[in-house]
Symmetry: none
Subunit: 429 residues, 2 copies
Amino acid sequence: MGKPNLKAELVSVGTELLLGEIVDTNAAHMSQRLAEIGVDVHFRHTVGDNLGRIVSVLEPALSRSDAVLICGGLGPTQDDLTRESIAQVTGRPLRPDAAAQQHLREFFARRGYTATPNNLKQATVPEGGRLLDNTCGTAPGVLVELEGAGGSPGSVLIAVPGPPPEMREMMRREVIPYLAGRQGGPPIAVHTRVLRLADIGESSLVAEIDDIIREQTDPTIAPYASPGEVKLRLATKSASDDEAARRLDAMEARLRERIGRHIYGVDDETMEVAAGAALRAAGATVAVAESCTGGLVASRITDVPGSSDYFLGSVVAYANEIKQRVLGVPAETLEAHGAVSEETALAMATGVRGLYGADYAVATTGIAGPGGGGDGKPVGLVYLAVADAEGAVCLRQNWPGTREQFKRRVSQYALNLLRKRVLGIEVEG
Amino acid sequence: MGKPNLKAELVSVGTELLLGEIVDTNAAHMSQRLAEIGVDVHFRHTVGDNLGRIVSVLEPALSRSDAVLICGGLGPTQDDLTRESIAQVTGRPLRPDAAAQQHLREFFARRGYTATPNNLKQATVPEGGRLLDNTCGTAPGVLVELEGAGGSPGSVLIAVPGPPPEMREMMRREVIPYLAGRQGGPPIAVHTRVLRLADIGESSLVAEIDDIIREQTDPTIAPYASPGEVKLRLATKSASDDEAARRLDAMEARLRERIGRHIYGVDDETMEVAAGAALRAAGATVAVAESCTGGLVASRITDVPGSSDYFLGSVVAYANEIKQRVLGVPAETLEAHGAVSEETALAMATGVRGLYGADYAVATTGIAGPGGGGDGKPVGLVYLAVADAEGAVCLRQNWPGTREQFKRRVSQYALNLLRKRVLGIEVEG
């Protein structure tokens, strides 16, 4: 029993998606998770909050696919029609689920609210179906198994909530294990590995490994760029985790031989994770002094669970007076060189290191824009410094772009600078 | 002639989209541009590089929609099947286009390459159709007008290339003017307005304006929730900008009468923008002391251009010793009440206010998780304080969720607390 490599279709529900007001990152996430267990997604659809149109998409999907996954439209409002659409397309009326209603009442009571009738609508389930626990929100998921011809296993309809954290958690806890079980046997899954690179641009990277990219068959190799970072995604299909790992290992080794010095992390190992791991291994602590990044470096460091083990804190010094009074940047330095200068960056790093009693410190000062350029200091100019017991070094960069891109890129670079200093890798200007 | 409000469907072609390797930002962009000229997108589909499956999506789309837009699959490789799919679904064979072939040959010659037969495949067009110039790449677009029943205008099939800059430019130069012309008359565009709310959950909001939502016809009203924030999206269709603004104004006024106390911003006016505007209007400055938010409050404040006018800086004090030594939280307070307590939050706010010489200060201290709970202080517990010359107040909240949700929600609440204090709005616990 079990059906290897289920065929699936995804349906995203929401008028705001069709209007282009939000980008459908949920669909990409769900697709990835399904690919990982070997479920083949053949079609994806997006449809507005309209009962007839949702049903018109579900009908052909159920007739040709083993699993139809719906995302969104499970909320408490009249716009939320996913439950009703499932009832209509399967011919199974909605029934209240006592346990789910109780769960919702308790959820609201814990927050000091009373569940409204709208909320309780979320605790209904199509006859013969079941609800999936939502551990981070109010809307439970829905799962209905349909009968195939002659009593054979038919397709399954699964609905998950639209808010991304709720969807992700429900996919991880409920949907993926369920579908993996339904497939039975070892599925031919897509196995991927992402190599994360620093200090190299996408086109230089592609030029450096041009021959490897040209020859690629299995694993496939695809480069992606985002502000301050380039990634290489390796992918291979295999029913065996070991075989897939062997192929990915071999390709990774080949790439590392060529461009290993640029690879700082693998898969979910972001720069804040890599920098944190280096600090943890060294048994060292870090403090941050931020001007142009405005707290983003500290915020990224503290996105990592357990970062309190090595992160002491940050001084965000936007005003010059704070750089002077709190971080101890000398007035003469600010006067002679300005806030955006090598001298100020170095003084900020050494200042916060002393103030916080940290082993390492990083500092950022630059012009995020759109205003503030001039005097030979253009928008996008930034100085980054890292300090430890041995001394301090500073790098000058120029990254024009939006304010958001600038902050992101500078924070990435600052974390990389910290990581390299802790690992004893030489810093190139 | 002309058909107001064309009904359209979008089809994104590419296996990498179905695998979730890239997020389909093109679809959102195309949807937005179409909504602006009043084209109603009813369905969106994503399909892999497979001729049969592309055709199976195009067939029903052409039968029910006035315009079907395809994005992607126009490249030179064997994976690129959009042209062949159009030929098959319309029954019109592909013919070479001499002008386009010449254009391609010149394009490659300028770059020192010779156009391959693969490249020249891009310069073929279904009989009776025409190619659309690609001003930033090699793949021309394709446009085929079909005949309706009895010689009436039928639907139109348009394909644009997948690389985002090429797609955007072709939409702007060719597709949007063409569809606007096909609609005739002034386009009936979708005009939207987003009201941003604080201190209310989605279900309470819906309960409070249930009658208005039930009666909605024009503008339509739809609620959306994200961590720490609920939004109400108003939308109306009109050929006149003034008329649309009048309708949106009237609905906004009606909603403000009922729930105006919860509306903090409109459209792009995020909480950091609203808090910054309040500070700017008051001619006041702010400093921040952050523990559990780890710099996110400061980072959000500094996401706003010009925030250096009112933001002095932040102290991120992750370690207790920093709370004590830099922010001046008394050792006895930490000892007696712990770092996550009302007393510590208040001492952090007043401490950073004094240190930075700011008019206002906000502070956060809580347990982001996943570790760190216990002792009657669960993960998700947070204390937020705001201080000014009049004194300080503190609120206790409990928001279990992921680390990311927690940080986001606490930062939203802290900025709201600041905004309300500056505006003289009473803070409810």
